[in-house]
Subunit: 205 residues, 2 copies
Amino acid sequence: MTDKVIPDIVIGRLPLYLRALQRMIAEGRQVTSSQELGERLGISAAQIRKDLSQFGEFGKQGTGYNIEYLVEQLGKILKVDRDWDVAVVGAGDIGSAVARYRGFADRGYCVVTIYDNDPEKVGAQIGEFVVQDSADMVADIRKNGIKIAMITVPASHAQEVADQLIEAGVKAILNYAPVSLNVPAGVRLQHIDPAVHLQRMTYYL
Amino acid sequence: MTDKVIPDIVIGRLPLYLRALQRMIAEGRQVTSSQELGERLGISAAQIRKDLSQFGEFGKQGTGYNIEYLVEQLGKILKVDRDWDVAVVGAGDIGSAVARYRGFADRGYCVVTIYDNDPEKVGAQIGEFVVQDSADMVADIRKNGIKIAMITVPASHAQEVADQLIEAGVKAILNYAPVSLNVPAGVRLQHIDPAVHLQRMTYYL
């Protein structure tokens, strides 16, 4: 791997490659090709080869990719060859579902805590977690060195929560609140808003 | 509006504009500018003006945009000036959270039914819904003319469910299962996978 700057759009596709490859492993597969991967993903084989070639040589002409090796390498590139602690802020329906979701464990993430500012929710049990008081959030997150958080509070509170998380040292935020957030340079931000995704399709109906 | 083909990436930004404008209305605002909208969204004012100009003239030089008028026009363009019935397939944590989510109502969507194939879940109450048997799904969806569905089943069943939905006449699928799906031309597909979103950020940490 070199120090050259890889376009965001290439980085954005790597998790899809990784997910498909991990699924192949679960199916008991050992070797694949850019063609097969492309068919599964709806991405051209040439695009996949070009993307991967940014990081080195992962396959041999004619013999394809060793799936386990490629998973290992993609894990290193994406830095998910370890477990990242994740804080969830907001213990409503979405926050509760995310905190209970079992799909993070083998993909590099471990939800370790969930916060809410509602006295009726603080202390409640959600899956294996006890909801913590948001008043302790900044100090806790700073003390534990948590770098990743998911915001699942109402839109009206999301920017305030984001500001607090950043103050506490969080560097990556996955925002479920239906509002765009402003974060300083050096903090990564991704959004999940199902209504936005639906509206991107309805246009074509 | 003309019949020219608008790039997908432009259509993809319109829901963000609409969301920000609806938020301004909630704040009691009446007029905005591409500058202000751009600052809220982290998108350049020039980009916003260019995107909107694809659909006509929405603002006057110097006086900005009338927010309500622009919301109305964007709603028409995105076809969310009506209520689309949405079926949810999978009554686990995510499906339950999505079915209970109150944020769809004023954005063009109305969840009308939730299915599961687990006899222990069928008949259970989730918010205002009684979980329906997946065995009835294809016939129900066809009869009711539902065109939009959300898949919240495990990855191993997602393609099979997608195939059934498409057979039933569904034209737009929002897939929460952590697997890429194949759909025929004419069917729109969007994915939400929080681990993929997290992995897109971890690279930069």
